[in-house]
């Protein structure tokens, strides 16, 4: 099959260029070819024209070399910056491009969100591993982590230390009082997990053993009771009596000055 391209009679690509290897070989030969074959195909003519036909545009300015030389001189005379001093600029590789793409992505909003999410995950993970999250959150994180095979303690997994659970009451000496015996017994027989009830039990045991029945008992003994006037010392004098003795009483009319 033949036709025309750029005024030339040309053929078209044949059957042999269907495989990748043949196509690559043919393109390489086109790139190296100096002279167009007589029975050139359209693509060969196109490539040849592409190489030989100058692109229209203004011609090169003769001052360009001088300007560039001046520019290079001025750069050479200036002090090299700390960043580029002693370093070599090499052609950039695809690895560099990939790093640039990653850096560019991280500077976008999505990148920042990704960084924030990663930071949140790390912080949350750290709190979860050290069992410092609130119980519902700790439970949830533990369940999620278990799905992916990471062991993070759940609140229900937490056990009291063995020495708290297996407690043995110390043996008191024979001369220990009943109070001490009762209190120690209550302390070691009770359950600390009951909290305030446990504390109240210990207090009650101490009171019972000491024979104290009422909170006000001690005070009553001391004062003789609020209702008992006998609690007040006998020699107590009414406030007005001294003044009466001194001035002879206001009602007597004899209130002469000393």
């Amino acid at each position: 099959m033949r036709g025309t391209f750029l005024g030339r009679r040309v053929g078209y690509l044949g059957e042999m260029r269907r495989s990748k290897r043949h196509l690559d070989t043919w393109i390489d030969s086109l790139a190296d070819a100096e002279v167009l074959p007589r029975d050139a195909e359209a693509v060969e003519v196109f490539v040849n024209e592409l190489r030989t036909v100058p692109v229209p545009g203004p011609s090169l300015d003769s001052d360009l070399a001088g300007v560039l030389a001046t520019e290079a001189r001025s750069v050479a005379e200036s002090v090299p910056s700390r960043v580029t001093a002693g370093r070599t600029i090499r052609p950039l590789s695809w690895k560099w491009r990939r790093r640039t793409m990653i850096t560019t992505f991280l500077s976008t909003v999505f990148g920042k969100l990704a960084i924030a999410a990663a930071a949140f995950a790390v912080a949350g993970g750290g709190l979860a591993v050290s069992d410092n999250l609130p119980d519902p959150a700790q439970e949830w994180v533990s369940n999620v982590a278990e799905e992916i095979g990471i062991d993070i303690p759940a609140p229900s997994d937490i056990e009291l230390p063995a020495q708290v659970i297996d407690r043995q009451a110390p043996e008191l000496p024979d001369e220990a009082s009943d109070v001490a015996d009762a209190v120690v017994g209550t302390i070691f027989d009770g359950d600390p997990l009951e909290g305030s009830e446990y504390g109240q039990d210990i207090a009650d045991a101490a009171k019972d053993a000491a024979g104290v029945t009422d909170n006000t008992g001690v005070a009553d003994e001391y004062t003789g009771g609020v209702d008992d006037p006998a609690g007040i010392p006998d020699e107590y004098t009414e406030p007005g009596s001294i003044a009466d003795e001194y001035i002879g009483g206001a009602d007597q009319g004899e209130g002469a000055r000393p």
């Binding site: 391209f5 592409l50 203004p58 030389a69 290079a72 001189r73 052609p91 695809w94």
Partner: protein
């Protein structure tokens, strides 16, 4: 316009390293030599990518080369790859700039000093006869395919060098090249 040989500068009197050293120290002749060897293909590549306006990008590319040449090390092949990589980045920047701000100028003060000389309308019209058809075919390729074809056949780079310039793996570049030629085959049928 013809793709360069691998070591055009080495085939002349001065080895590439001495040209590079002289260019670093600001020797006019060294820059003339570098421009002579690279500018035509560079300009063709950029113009095919962004049109005639690409000349500003070419000049900007050369300015970047002049500012960064002190940090460059390598042979001629690496130097060419480096220059085209800078040009490619300038093209990408320019496309982004056009999308954001249609008429944004680039380093006007220096670019004015190296503004290209205008040609006659007749010359341009004659050259445009074949170029429009070529450009019409190129425009039907995807941007990545077009880039690979231009780097391969205008700049004369091999697959490995193109892979470095465009930041892809060689296999990906080869696949792009194959797809481009299958597409060209379909377009030119």
């Amino acid at each position: 316009m013809k793709p360069r040989g691998d070591c055009e500068l080495l085939q002349r009197d001065e080895p590439f390293q001495s040209v590079l050293d002289a260019a670093c120290s600001g020797a006019d002749w060294a820059w003339e030599r570098l421009i002579e060897v690279i500018d035509a293909t560079l300009r063709g590549y950029v113009r095919r990518q962004v049109g005639v306006d690409g000349d500003d990008l070419v000049n900007e590319t050369w300015l970047h080369v002049a500012r960064g040449i002190h940090g460059f090390s390598g042979g001629e092949s690496e130097f060419r790859s480096w220059v085209f990589m800078i040009a490619r980045h300038r093209i990408i920047d320019e496309r982004r700039r056009r999308r954001r701000k249609p008429a944004d100028a680039v380093d006007e003060t220096i670019l004015d000093r190296i503004a290209p000389v205008a040609r006659s309308a007749e010359d341009a019209a004659i050259e445009n006869l074949g170029n429009e058809e070529l450009q019409a075919v190129l425009d039907q390729l995807s941007p990545a395919q077009r880039e690979v074809v231009l780097l391969r056949f205008i700049a004369g780079f091999g697959i490995t060098e193109i892979a470095e310039i465009v930041g892809r793996k060689p296999g990906a570049v080869q696949a792009l090249q194959r797809r481009a030629f299958r597409r060209l085959k379909g377009i030119l049928r």
